[in-house]
C-alpha cells in the first residue's frame, strides 16, 4: 500500500474512534507528536516528585508523612508507566532521560515553583493534581492505546492525591489564624500557575488543532481551564479562602517555560544529581545479574 492509502486508512480509523496500537501503521508526525507529549508527561511526573519531596522529612505528623511518601512514590510510578508507554513508539527510556537531563526536553512548568510552607503541599494536591486530573481524564480516551491505558491507571490514583491535598487545606482552614493565613498564602501562590497548566489560550496554542484532529486531545485548553475554575471556586469557598482576583500573566508562563522560573535550575540540578548518585546502583545491579547468569551456566 502506498503512503497516501495508508494515511487515508489511518484517518478513517481515527474518525471511527478506533485505537491505534504500537505495531499499527501511523504517520511520522503522529508518532513524533506522541513521543513529544508522552515523554514531557513522563518527565513532569518525575520532576514533580521534587517540590513535594521537599516536605517529606518535615511533614507535621507521622500520618501525613506516610501519606506524602505514598503520593510521591505514585508520581514515580506514573513516570514509569508513561516512559513504558512512550517506549512502544520506538524510543528508549535512556534516550528520553538523557534529553531531560541535558535540558533539551520540556516538562510541566508548574514544577518550577517553590514550596515554602506545608500549606503548599496541600495546595499542590488540591490544585495541581486537580488540574492534572482535568487534563488527564479526556486522555483516557485518546487515540493511542498504550497512552490511553496508562492514563486510566494514573487517573485512578490521582483522585487520592487531590483528596489528600484538600484534606491538608481543610485542617489548616479549621486551624489557628496563622494556619488559615498559611493556607491562603499557598492558594495565592498556586492559583495562577495552576490555571497556566492548561496551556496557552486556544488562539495561541500551536499544537492544539492537529492534536484534536488526531483525537489525542479532546477538549481545548480554555474549555478545560474554565471547567477547572467552575469546580474549584466552590471548594475554596467551603474552606473560607479567597480566590485571587486578576488575570493570568502569560509573560510569566513563557518566562518559566523558557527556563527562567524560580526553580528551573534547581530542579534539573537535583535530577542530574540523583541520576549520577544512582549510577553505581544501576551498574552494580547489572553486574550482579550477569554474575548470577554466568554461575548458572557453569553449574549446568
Amino acid at each position: 500500500m502506498d503512503t497516501a492509502a495508508l494515511e487515508a486508512r489511518f484517518a478513517a480509523r481515527i474518525d471511527a474512534d478506533e485505537r491505534i496500537e504500537p505495531k499499527d501503521w501511523m504517520p511520522d508526525a503522529y508518532r513524533r507528536a506522541l513521543i513529544r507529549q508522552m515523554s514531557q508527561h513522563a518527565h513532569s511526573e518525575i520532576v514533580g516528585m521534587l517540590p513535594e519531596g521537599n516536605w517529606i522529612t518535615r511533614a507535621p505528623t507521622l500520618k501525613r508523612k506516610a501519606i506524602l511518601m505514598a503520593k510521591v512514590q505514585d508520581e514515580g510510578g506514573h513516570g514509569a508507566y508513561l516512559y513504558g508507554a512512550t517506549e512502544t513508539l520506538g524510543v528508549t527510556r535512556a534516550a528520553l532521560i538523557d534529553e531531560l537531563l541535558a535540558g533539551s526536553a520540556k516538562y510541566s512548568s508548574i514544577f518550577n515553583y517553590p514550596t515554602p510552607t506545608w500549606a503548599d503541599v496541600g495546595a499542590i494536591g488540591w490544585l495541581v493534581d486537580g488540574a492534572a486530573i482535568m487534563n488527564q481524564i479526556p486522555l483516557c480516551r485518546c487515540s493511542y492505546g498504550p497512552y490511553a491505558r496508562a492514563m486510566v491507571r494514573i487517573c485512578k490514583e490521582e483522585s487520592f492525591h487531590q483528596r489528600q491535598g484538600y484534606d491538608i487545606m481543610l485542617s489548616l482552614a479549621r486551624g489557628t489564624l496563622a494556619q488559615r493565613r498559611m493556607a491562603q498564602g499557598a492558594l495565592d501562590r498556586w492559583w495562577w500557575p495552576a490555571l497556566m497548566m492548561f496551556g496557552p489560550p486556544d488562539a495561541e496554542s500551536k499544537h492544539s488543532a492537529q492534536s484534536m484532529r488526531w483525537k489525542v486531545k479532546r477538549f481545548t485548553n480554555d474549555e478545560l481551564r474554565e471547567r477547572f475554575i467552575e469546580f474549584t471556586v466552590p471548594q475554596a469557598e467551603f474552606l473560607g479562602l479567597e480566590i485571587p482576583r486578576g488575570t493570568i500573566d502569560w509573560s510569566e508562563f513563557h518566562e518559566v517555560l523558557n527556563g527562567n522560573g524560580p526553580c528551573n535550575r534547581e530542579r534539573l540540578t537535583a535530577r542530574r544529581h540523583a541520576h549520577e548518585q544512582g549510577r553505581w546502583v544501576r551498574e552494580a545491579a547489572l553486574a550482579y545479574a550477569e554474575k548470577q547468569r554466568s554461575r548458572q551456566r557453569e553449574a549446568v
Binding site: 510510578g77 513504558g84 517506549e87 528508549t92 538523557d98 541535558a102 490514583e157 547489572l286 545479574a289 548470577q292
Partner: protein, 96 residues
Amino acid sequence: MTTTRDWPLYEVFIRARGGLDHKHVGSIHAVDARMALEHARDVYTRRQEGISIWVVKSSEIVASDPTEADAFFEPARDKIYRHPTFYDIPDEVKTL
C-alpha cells in the same frame, strides 16, 4: 553525557483475583526476571491490584502482524455456522 545502557524490558501480566486470567498491564525495565517481578510489584500493585504476576522479556514475545491481519484472520470470516444464532429453531422447542 554518558549513559548506562538501559536494563532489558519485560512485559508484565497480572492476575487481579483468583479465577481471572493474567492480563497485560504494561512493561518494566529490570536486570533479570527476579528484579522484574519485584519492580512490577512496586509499580503495578501498590493498591493490591493483583495476587499473581507474570513477567516475560519483551523481546521473547511473538506477535501477529497488524498489516497482515485481514489475511491472517480470514479463515474464520465465512464460517458463521460456528455461532448458535446461525440456526433457526422453532419457538416451540425449549431449552435448546
